[in-house]
């Protein structure tokens, strides 16, 4: 049986999935509004005239290009939502399924079952105690390593949650701008103005948003700074000689 601490979902899984819900509904709204605007333009195409239409088309194309840039990020993210959830889950399991049960063995290793073991003396007893101490040190080292890998994954989980939240903000903002333009472009006179405002504001929003995503992406890459930590962890031979469990009994 596996009991996950409640914090697993509250801290990571929940905001992560919530952001994805916002992304999905935001995209639907944005696309819906965009199509409404195009439809409105088409209804009034004869009144807008060739020059007006050309100008509107330029602005709508710019809007579409900005939306496409966001949609590319969204598609990429949607494909990975479930795999990244497994990373969040795994980071908790390193603590629950590995660190905690191994740490319980630390005390047991050097705590004799019977106090009468104290009556045992001589070379064999000394050798046994030395071996038990080394085993305990290896146990404690494994506990630290399980904690380390869990924290490393947490950092990565954190940057994923941040990324999803930022992406949701962009999509929500985009949907808002498009809804506003769809409302404002209600008359033939308002259409050109509403659409040029839209193109400009969507362009700004997407540029700023993608920059923020790059910053979050950088934080994800920075977790690789820990790649040296991870190598050091694997290469720490003091308690796990030769990167192996210490042999008490030779094969």
């Amino acid at each position: 049986m596996q009991v996950q601490p409640a914090s697993s979902d509250l801290e990571y899984g929940e905001p992560f999935n919530k952001a994805f819900d916002q992304i999905r509904s935001g995209i639907d709204r944005a696309v819906g509004s965009f199509n409404d605007i195009v439809e409105r333009v088409n209804e009034h195409r004869w009144l807008l005239g060739p020059a007006g239409l050309w100008w509107i088309k330029q602005n709508l194309d710019a809007t579409r290009r900005a939306m496409t840039m966001v949609l590319d990020q969204v598609d990429h993210a949607l494909e990975r939502q479930v795999p990244v959830l497994s990373l969040i889950n795994v980071s908790f399991r390193w603590v629950n399924d590995v660190k905690t049960p191994v740490s319980e063995l630390s005390f047991t290793a050097t705590e004799p079952r019977s106090d009468n073991i104290a009556k045992w003396s001589g070379d064999a007893a000394i050798a046994y105690n030395a071996k038990a101490t080394k085993q305990k040190a290896a146990i404690d080292e494994s506990v630290l390593k399980a904690e380390f890998i869990s924290q490393w994954l947490f950092k990565i989980a954190r940057s994923n949650v941040d990324y999803a939240v930022e992406l949701a903000k962009i999509v929500t903002g985009l949907a808002g701008k498009l809804a506003q333009a769809a409302t404002e472009a209600s008359t033939v006179i308002d259409i050109p103005w509403a659409i040029s405002t839209l193109a400009k504001s969507v362009g700004d929003l997407v540029t700023a948003g993608l920059n923020t995503l790059l910053t979050v992406g950088q934080r994800f890459m920075d977790a690789l700074g820990n790649i040296r930590d991870i190598a050091t962890q694997v290469g720490d031979y003091s308690k796990l000689p030769g990167s192996q469990w210490p042999q008490a009994v030779r094969d």
């Binding site: 990373l87 049960p101 079952r113 009468n116 070379d123 064999a124 071996k131 390593k145 990565i156 009994v249």
Partner: protein, 105 residues
């Protein structure tokens, strides 16, 4: 020899402790084996995940290897303690043992 029985009983108890520890850590090892992650699990954004994925895979392999080592070692310590108790019983006293032989699987 009363004291000898007390010691060998304690040694056999101690041996059982290590066998139980071996069982416990075997379960941990099985749980740890399942903690692999696909490269796609590392980032939802558009960034290279290869180094993260490879680093994790190496660390994961390392952890499973050492846990597996612990399963074997704990089991063998349990067996060694039983051997010591048997040797003492056979000699009817706490004799000096060839430790190289005792602590060899």
């Amino acid at each position: 020899m009363k004291d000898l029985a007390v010691i060998t009983d304690a040694l056999r108890d101690e041996g059982k402790k290590w066998l139980a520890m071996s069982d416990s850590i075997a379960k941990v090892k099985t749980a740890a084996e399942q903690l692999h992650l696909e490269p796609s699990a590392f980032f939802i954004g558009d960034a290279s995940v290869v180094l993260h994925a490879v680093s994790y895979r190496d660390f994961h392999t390392f952890m499973v290897r050492i846990l597996n080592g612990a399963v074997t070692e704990f089991d063998q310590i349990g067996a060694a303690l039983r051997r010591i108790a048997d040797e003492y019983d056979r000699a009817d006293e706490v004799i000096s043992l060839d430790l190289d032989k005792i602590y060899r699987a």
